[in-house]
Assembly symmetry: C2
Homo-oligomer: 984 residues x 2
């Protein structure tokens, strides 16, 4: 019988999904802006890290998915049909390193389709650099280079110029990003996700998330750009609007044949989220970033749901939703003709919550950071040499180094926040790029450690990539202490021998085993001599065994701490002298007999114990600096103060403990102190991660104020425990006062400036008045929960035995009378960035390999002004050259040099005729004049209607060919030496 | 200076990925079969469960992805462009429930493209039912219905007939699947993944994974089909060849510009995997199933990698790889003209490893299993009524019940192996389907519990969907014990009142609160009366308050166990009598005074403790029966034996403990025993899951041999601890001897047959000689690790309070002299499947609502032969009818009825003219003759060249219209009553 009582286990209630006839639905996605309604700009995007948890190539092809499911190839493959399916759909693509990989692999058919999509604006390139570079650990020259690489590709393939800055993920935002990589590349706006949580709260309350950001004091209103910090502090869709394959947001279920029809519910969710955002946003335009990391692997899943949302939300009518881009959003904001709040300086440091200051990454992976900086200087020089020699189109050239360096600027690359295997990949790419640029057909690195007793000689070619004549001490390792140095005129020149000793020798031995597989036991010396080289030129020197040997440095050993009061030790044979205590070996005094600066100072090492996260799940890690106490490094037992004295410089060798030592150098001809440190392996046997800092304490009364550079360019004023934009709640008095340093940091009082310059990106601060502090190395045992999912614990292994990484580096310090510091910071800073480039050749006879023992590309009697540097000199194609010149001084920075300067191109290129010269945007993808014409002119709240754009160099006369540069101005040119008509 | 010693932390070794020019690669995928090489048939497929962890609609639209990332819409959406992109690519699609959902939503443009893909063979429908039905817990009528639904849709939309059976996931394989749902639907082969691990090992050793499977003794060689069990025991690609978005198999990286180029490595992997499989496979053709559950969400990811593999593997040349389908693979095997081993019977039970017998699911979710069976019988009857009345095209009709039932046959639906929320969804769909089929415009279920004292009367319409005249006892609940039943002629008929008491009343109260939200406290009675109904007809009865009231059953209570020896209790007033012990209340004797069978027997309940998985991680669960000891259920204290006696039947009420009770009925006019059990809530307070069985022990000496049905159709011989195909290692003497039962189970010896028939799918066995055992209910506390990730712990909740599900059900037992059992098993078995269908109407007056109080659609003097049942009588479209007739007896099963039988269609449809009749395949998607012509004729090893196809009914003469059926034959016809030309 079919009659039955209610049957156990069976629900007989509910009647929801009824089968009726149903057909294909065509969704209306054609909506545009509607005045008077809240306009929700849906911006479909993917955020594709150029390396992070996986390498860039792994991300591209989708391998190593067990680490992270991500395949950029899928994104781009699936995107094209999705866009072709509906002309109203839009997408923005950002990272050109990925796009270029993909583009190479496409058929012409697909390439043609993509070109049409770009032309129609359905597919828009945003940001447009090879990567979304970091903004803290990057140097501005690298930022420009990597952006140029991307922008020129886009220009060449698609004839378009990106309009929008899109730094949605970097962990804080720099002034240089805003004005150089924003306004100066012709961007109309700049968007980002991460600003300090306190700042964001205030800006949400004030409706000041969107501002006019002026990044430079010197460049005036021309350095302004419309800038928007995202509402939620990230670059994701509102909660519940994620539509990747397998995402668990509720899809829009509009098939009434099926269960769980939810159109009204989803429309309500949409409208509620839109109003919530509108509530803290000026105007009736809001942007939804519809995507996140590596999404759109099957683009259709997103567009299918967004189509439906647009269709049904607009049917509902409470808000207006449509496909948009940041460009359309920017135009919409601009068309309102409103005034916006002004923002100056930068957005550092970044904290995403109490105790989570993203200031550790300023120092994370210091070796990679140095490698990148070194390669950056090398790349600058190599491109010059490549131009002089003639670019090799098919064979080895500087392109792969350029690509490798571009990748390395990514915000999880040089930042040090990638996984270890990914860090290795960046390093490998740099090393390959380096190998692919053999210098002037000379093997770039023959052994310098030749046995001169057999009559062999070593030729050293010293190249100077600066625009100035330059004299500097060159140091190379040799195995014989009886060597003589001749200049190219055959004259013996002064040189100096220093034995390689102590920690340095141990390190040489260990790392050569690790990386080359063999360990040298022969005793080694440093040979130092002074080289002088013309601008953009080289000199050659010959090293041989000789009776007129270089003097070996005189060694003096003091044993302080023996109870008796010893005499103080003074080093330095020129204007600068340092005095060390004969009692405890500590640095006491800095005396410059020329400038009459006489300063008491102390130098010490400490470590911060990295928090393990037990308190509030915030450990110190690759991103985060979360100190749990500061501990001074005590010297272990009776340590000698070892001094080597010679004709060129004096060295003070100090060993603080088994894993920290340093060499302090005072050059006879220089007035700064060079400190070479060796830190590591940082001990972790106590289960505590450590972050090593050096502190130099002086008597300079800086009253909480210090200055750090923005990406090696402008100096910004910092005040301890203070933010100009909001009333700072101080929770982390150390980590919250750390700032990124790429060029230097300084403090000053009424009489004195105290400056430190660095050889790589580091974090630093002035934690107490008179003091400067640099974080040199970090070794941590816990992941900090920001996604990398590895502790920052760099090791070096031989077979199965691994030890913590040792880091070697330099910093430079100097005291000047007030107003005299900038010359050293700017000029010597440029020399740190662009060191002499050395090449070696072994030779038994005369200079047969070197028909030209000295060379300068410029007019031998010409030199660039002290205030100007050549940032780029690069042959783009046959005799078409990219030239970038930079004024190094800010307005009012130096009484002599903060003025306009001129460069005479005819004397820079004396042997070539300039047929054509065109000034371009900073990224060389459009004519400067066109860019200026298109630039949107935003109104600033409370500002005068016409703002001061700052001084600028005048136009370059086509036959006079003199380039004028105002303070902090960078000018970019494409020069044609070949009478061809050229394109960008 | 750019010279530097080997730099800490930087790898300078390795030079792998060098940037060179690279272009789009066109892959050669055009390869076909190559003789003399190992041919690897790559078969791209997805396996889309029609409900399991998510509901069917959730799977389709991709919601609830937090449970499982799966979206069939993505699969089909992304598949089409992937196939269009390369005409060599192929794909098979299986589950029509999903395909139909998708198809409805497509534009005509897409539909046209898909039609072309189907026509060209790029897209092939395989299996083609609505779902991939289970093979253990399904009834063959349901299997036919759900396959027909899918096949006819495919025929109508695409004009193709699926060629291949593809039961890759079900947990064991039935004989009925092979011959009825295989050979009889015109399939050329059948493939599956899961067979016993011992069996598979042996077949790999013998190269007998591919066989000719003959599923029926009665149907001879015409029931043979080529069948292949997959090499690895699953339906997945070889390890390392998974290419879903985010899968971590190594993709084929063939871009030499990028790192990790791996073409040769991947080719080697491919070749190695191919040879490993070839090693256990006959011939040089092997099949790779390139896909698994819900894959191809972005089909491009698979095809991209398979394109490359085909391209490079064929370049390599060691093996030959190409896109293929099971059809092409079957044709390749067939073209070899080889002989294959013969396989008979089935592949039950299934174990995938030692101690992992998939025999628990034979009983899992017994309530759902009953609900499905009940709806199945209802659906059969409802379609008959729909035809008689005229099908309602737009309004409510039987379609949604058909769809719901089709879904419920899925191998994770009626199998009971789905998650709880999914089980609820299946039940909801069935209930909706049920509601949508109002019977003959009469509300199908008015309250029968009317107050007759107010002069109201209840009309009961009793419909008989069988082809035989039938008399049976009808039972309905009433609130008044003084009622009278009149037949449609106005005559009072014999009836009987039984009070609802004890557990039954408690259950009524509790479950009505749960499901209807109100609990009735009024006392209720069962009213029983005997109804007699013509074939395909109905009778009406009127119930009213009356003086000639039905006699209330006489209650007799015995209190055994009181220490004194009581008299034995005998029940039954007809031929059959049961004797119970007056001492302990136990059943003692079964006596049939007509057949002279007199058998001693015992009946008891036990439970198996479900293993918790601590020994070897194999717990008892939804799939797996893993007993850890058997424990007899002891009665609790002094329990009375309660007997109700009446004119129609006697009832014995026994309460074994607080959660097991039963009512045993002996009908005066019937010679079997009906046992209605009530089991639950199964106690779990002791932390032990329990699987409840009832055991009936007799003196029948069956010598380890018993018989169970295959999907309710053929009976297969089982031998305890034995398999015909291999030398069984017995590890699980209980679970390994369990078989699925849908119709019944029996044993026999030289004199007697002992049969049990069931009302739903259950697991059972004969664990000891003379004994039969049924598993009635299961409540388990651990997941069994087969994916469902839930313990099978069904509960029923009021507010927050949940108790274990109680299950009520019936089984029927009977003893017959040897050779006389099949008549009861077959005829009464059909009555269990097709019970009387009741409808109710309240009435104050005469039969105004029932102008025709009795009805038969057939010639009133005609009845189908006892051996024939109408499986289907369904109006497909206006006056076009699908008729399916089945002979119910096997060859030699019954001395009278195992012979050809005839049905006179003119008397079945006396009022209609048959203009046309066409015999079709079982799934009604092609003409029978065409199917027979196309059928591949495989050679069997060691068999005679011409095998016996078994007896068959002859062709139907177009005017004689007599259908002849041989034993076990099922014949399907499409009949045109409307002189129209019709298509399938």
């Amino acid at each position: 019988m079919a009659y039955f009582r209610v049957f156990p286990g069976v629900l007989t209630v509910v009647l929801l999904c009824v089968l009726v006839d149903c057909k294909f639905i065509a969704y209306n996605t054609s909506q545009g802006i509607v005045d008077g309604k809240l306009n929700v700009h849906l911006v479909p995007h993917t955020h594709d890290d150029v390396g992070w948890l996986k390498t860039v190539d792994q991300y591209y092809v989708g391998s190593n998915n067990s680490i992270q499911g991500a395949c950029v190839q899928n994104v781009l493959d699936s995107l094209i049909p999705a866009l072709l399916a509906d002309k109203n759909r839009k997408f923005i693509y950002v990272e050109q390193a990925f796009f270029q990989r993909w583009w190479r692999e496409q058929s012409e058919t697909i390439q043609d389709k993509v070109k049409k999509l770009v032309k129609s604006g359905q597919l828009e390139f945003i940001n447009g650099g090879m990567c979304m570079h970091d903004e803290a650990a990057t140097h501005y020259i690298d930022m420009i280079d990597q952006t140029t690489l991307g922008h020129r590709f886009i220009k060449e393939e698609f004839d378009v110029t990106p309009r929008i800055g899109w730094q949605i993920d970097p962990f804080g935002h720099s002034a240089v990003q805003a004005y150089l990589l924003g306004a100066e590349v012709g961007f109309d706006s700049l968007f980002f996700g991460r600003i300090d949580y306190q700042d964001r709260d205030k800006r949400r309350n004030d409706k000041t998330l969107e501002v006019i950001w002026q990044g430079s004091k010197s460049r005036g209103s021309s350095s302004q750009i419309f800038a928007g910090a995202f509402y939620a502090g990230n670059y994701e869709p509102p909660t519940g609007f994620y539509f990747e394959v397998n995402d668990d947001s509720p899809i829009v279920q509009d098939d009434i044949n099926l269960c769980d029809y939810n159109v009204q519910e989803r429309v309500n969710d949409f409208v509620a989220a839109a109003f919530a955002q509108a509530n803290v946003t000026r105007s009736n335009h809001i942007m939804w970033t519809m995507g996140t990391d590596f999404k759109y692997q099957y683009a259709h899943t997103w567009f299918r749901n967004m189509d439906k949302l647009i269709h049904y939300v607009n049917q509902d009518g409470r808000v207006n939703a449509f496909y948009s881009t940041p460009s359309l959003y920017t135009d919409a904001k601009y068309s309102l003709n409103e005034s916006w709040p002004l923002k100056i300086d930068d957005f550092f440091p970044y904290a995403d919550r109490v105790n989570s200051y993203w200031t550790g990454y300023f120092t994370s992976r210091p070796a990679i950071k140095r490698y990148v900086r070194m390669m950056s200087g090398y790349y600058l020089a190599a491109r010059q040499l490549e131009f002089f020699r003639g670019r090799n189109k098919s064979g080895p050239n500087t392109d792969s180094l350029g690509d490798a360096l571009a990748l390395a600027q990514h915000h999880d690359a040089v930042s040090g926040t990638e996984k270890q295997h990914v860090a290795n990949d960046y390093a490998k790419r740099l090393s390959i790029g380096y190998k692919e640029c053999p210098l002037l057909n000379i093997s770039y690195c023959p052994p310098t450690e030749v046995d001169f007793s057999l009559g062999r000689k070593l030729v050293v070619v010293v190249y100077n990539s600066l625009g100035w004549r330059r004299t500097d001490v060159v140091r190379i390792p040799v195995v014989d202490e009886n060597v003589t140095v001749h200049d190219s005129a055959g004259q013996v020149i002064v040189s100096q021998i220093i034995p390689l000793a102590g920690s340095s020798r141990d390190m040489r031995k260990f790392y050569s085993s690790v990386y080359v597989g063999e360990s040298s036991n022969s005793s080694v010396y440093w040979l130092a001599f002074t080289a002088t080289v013309q601008p953009l030129g080289f000199s050659t020197y010959v090293i041989s065994s000789g009776k007129l040997a270089a003097p070996v440095s005189v060694k003096q050993i003091s044993y302080p701490f023996d109870g008796s009061r010893g005499s103080d030790v003074q080093v330095g044979s020129g204007n600068l002298k340092l005095v060390y205590s004969g009692d405890d070996g500590k640095l006491l005094q800095y005396i410059n007999s020329r400038s009459l600066v006489n300063i008491s100072l102390e130098q010490s090492y400490s470590y911060y114990a990295g928090d393990d996260g037990t308190i509030d799940s915030q450990a110190s890690g690759a991103y985060i600096f979360r100190p749990n106490g500061r501990f001074p490094i005590q010297t272990e037992g009776k340590i000698p103060l070892v001094v080597y004295r010679g004709p060129l410089f004096d060295e003070v060798h100090q060993t603080f403990n088994s894993w920290i030592s340093q060499i302090t150098r005072v050059y006879k001809e220089k007035e700064h102190v060079e400190i070479e440190f060796l830190v590591g392996p940082i001990p972790i046997e106590d289960g505590i991660g450590k972050e090593i800092v050096t502190q130099i304490k002086s008597t300079v009364g800086n009253n909480k104020t210090f200055y750090t550079d923005s990406n090696g360019r402008d100096f910004l004023k910092r005040i301890r425990d203070y933010r100009a934009d909001w009333d700072l709640q101080v929770n982390q008095p150390i980590a919250g006062n750390y700032y990124p340093i790429n060029l230097g940091i300084y403090i000053k009082d009424k009489s004195t400036e105290f400056s430190i310059l660095v050889d790589r990106s580091v974090g630093g601060s002035s934690i107490a008045d008179g003091q400067l502090e640099l974080m040199l190395h970090r070794r941590l045992l816990y992941d900090d929960g920001k996604g990398v999912d590895e502790a920052l614990n760099e090791t070096v292994c031989i077979l199965d035995k691994c030890v913590g990484l040792t880091v070697q580096g330099k910093y430079y310090l100097r005291f000047d009378p007030l107003g005299y510091g900038s010359k050293w910071r700017r000029s010597f800073g440029q020399e740190i960035y662009s060191p002499f480039l050395l090449a070696f050749s072994e030779q038994n006879d005369t200079f047969t390999n070197f028909p030209v023992p000295t060379f300068t590309a410029m007019d031998p009697s010409y030199s660039l002004p002290d205030s100007v540097a050549i940032l780029t000199l690069q042959e783009l194609e046959d005799q078409i050259v990219l030239l970038r010149l930079a004024h190094l001084y800010e307005v009012s920075e130096d009484k002599d040099l903060s003025v306009k300067a001129s460069v005479d191109l005819k004397r820079v290129f004396p042997d070539k005729k300039i047929y054509n010269i065109r000034e371009t945007s900073l990224s060389a993808n459009q004519e400067r004049g066109e860019m200026e014409k298109k630039r949107l002119s935003w109104k600033v709240e409370g500002g005068s209607n016409k703002q001061d754009p700052g001084p600028r160099g005048g136009p370059v006369h086509p036959t006079e060919l003199v380039v004028e540069l105002a303070p902090m101005e960078i000018r970019t040119f494409i020069i044609d030496f070949n009478s061809k008509v050229f394109l960008y």
